[in-house]
Symmetry: C2
Subunit: 341 residues, 2 copies
């Protein structure tokens, strides 16, 4: 599938859906829409994401008028999940050319009358991946009954790399001959996998149940499931999602993800990131009454550090955790995998 | 408002919405529908709830055919919030006589085509109080900015008395001349107050935000707000709701509620209720990174114990907590209130 990804003013650092798809998706990304970086190339802005031109808007996507693009993906996720009206012309431009538009916003594009009419007119689809399916229910506490080993990536904050760590870990497991899969719990993972449940959009009573349902569905097909965690247990707004995933997943092992140098909660700068050992004990003590689980390894995102500082940062992080750590993008996920299998 | 309350096979012990309304609501309850106890009276089955006849079904409610009933309230909340088809004739019977039907089920009666048609035909309403309003959003972490002192009732399990403790505490505060109110977070509280938000039905990302919004709305009108807690932080299915309320409320004080003798999680008997000190440390440690909060008192539901054992049970509970405790229904809420003001 050929796609363009909208990431205005946020690419690459604030566009985790865009970078996730570029790195792990099997879509062929023909362009990134970001008027702040128009004229650059993806590979100039960050390595490891492949390459594509960065363009001003939908009209500038190569091949757009020749049917070369199947879908426009909204590749940014603003706090609160709203739709930015400045994107409207790009979405309209895609629909007018018969391209589907895929969105993970809380604002459902299919409920926007203007977009819905355009999609009908041009025989294309508005795909809101953040809309959970209808027949969810409460957890029965059964996730631990599956045959596979279940790992959950937990974090000190949002946007520290939980999705990246999940994919790197599954990649390393496959390299080692282990049949492994990601359980996608957010918009990016769902766009990459083509299935999944947007846990942050689920009715709060069904949060754990929605995770359990996914694990039950895949648990006997794989030897290792890596559940993509969300948010952080100390987040002023999103901790409910994190807690529901923790108890619903009933994970055997936890991997604590952190971004090097992150001292304040992203978007909630009045709150400090707690000391690392606080997260270890909080996640373990909160998990235990439902299902005993241990932080077996750490993953540190050092993408903003020079090579020379990254190794020390990972070492320091591992010491604070009391378990082995790695930056799976920079140094591979093998050290983490070893603690799991 | 004259009402009848449906509580088949669950009254009084498994019907906390029914008993909550009987005890704290200003509705005039003309009958309880419970075919298992038909012929008895409410006052025979439990003291402190006032009195009304217990009847077989809607046709047996005194005055039902003379327009003596304004509404039928669904007074039970089964696990999962489903609608029991055996209740259908009672709901139909109410609607056929022009009575509104008020429900807190996850299953929305207004979306049931048969009920909807009957309600239209008889010019009455289907009121689903578990439907949150539409414009919720994420928490901004602002609940602590209100002038009032905020107390949150937290629990070791579901159905341990958090709503009861909230109302007893507000009652004691008012007696002491303090301007106090309950922040209702569940169906029963919403039915009693006539406003509120069913937090367990809110999108998980907005859980904390929905609590924050209610506190902001009432925070400057009262000196003391008691937020009705939900579920338990160690519950296999509902902990997400509990966690979101904890962080969204940013309470100054926590009151830990427990039911004497409860050893297993209600409806999830494979799970033990953790030792009491575990709850104190879990709630405090989980709250702290967002807003420092302390368990200042305990509330023990001793309704199933004889008078002679209740006092010892409360004492033992207080010792396990390390703070004063009471059974507010049996011994008053003053001892708890003293720890707050």
């Amino acid at each position: 599938m050929n796609v363009a990804i909208l990431a205005h003013e946020k690419f690459p650092d604030g566009a985790k859906t865009a970078t996730g798809i570029l790195r792990y998706g099997d879509q062929d990304v023909r362009a990134v829409l970001d008027h702040a970086n128009a004229g650059e190339r993806v590979s100039d802005l960050r390595s490891g994401l492949g390459d594509a031109p960065v363009v001003e808007g939908i009209d500038d996507v190569p091949g757009i008028d020749a049917g070369g693009i199947d879908a426009l993906i909204i590749g940014i996720a603003p706090v609160g999940g709203g739709f930015d009206e400045s994107w409207r012309s790009d979405v309209r431009g895609a629909l007018e050319r018969g391209c589907d538009v895929v969105s993970g916003l809380h604002y459902f594009l299919a409920e926007d009358e203007g977009f819905a009419a355009l999609a009908t007119e041009n025989d294309c689809e508005l795909i809101d991946v953040r809309r959970p399916h209808d027949d969810l229910t409460v957890s029965g506490g059964t996730a631990s009954e599956v045959d596979s080993h279940v790992v959950l990536t937990v974090g000190t904050d949002c946007s520290v790399g939980k999705l990246t760590v999940s994919y790197e870990l599954v990649g390393a497991a496959r390299e080692a001959g282990i049949d492994a899969a990601v359980i996608p719990t957010g918009q990016t993972g769902i766009m990459i996998e083509g299935w999944g449940n947007p846990i942050d959009r689920v009715v709060s009573d069904f949060t754990a149940g929605a995770v359990e349902e996914m694990i039950a569905e895949k648990g006997n097909e794989y030897d290792l499931l890596v559940v993509e965690g969300q948010g952080s247990i100390t987040h002023p707004a999103y901790s409910a999602v994190t807690c529901g995933i923790l108890h619903g997943a009933m994970a055997d092992s936890l991997v604590l993800c952190h971004a090097a140098g992150r001292e304040r909660i992203h978007g909630y700068e009045d709150w400090e990131v707690a000391p690392i050992p606080t997260y270890v004990s909080l996640y373990e003590e909160l998990a235990a009454p439902v299902h005993e689980s241990e932080v077996v390894a750490g993953a540190l995102n050092t993408s903003h550090l020079p090579e020379s500082e990254a190794e020390t940062a990972v070492e320091t992080y591992g010491e604070a955790l009391g378990v082995p750590a790695s930056d799976p993008v920079r140094f591979g996920a093998e050290a983490i995998l070893e603690e799991i299998v």
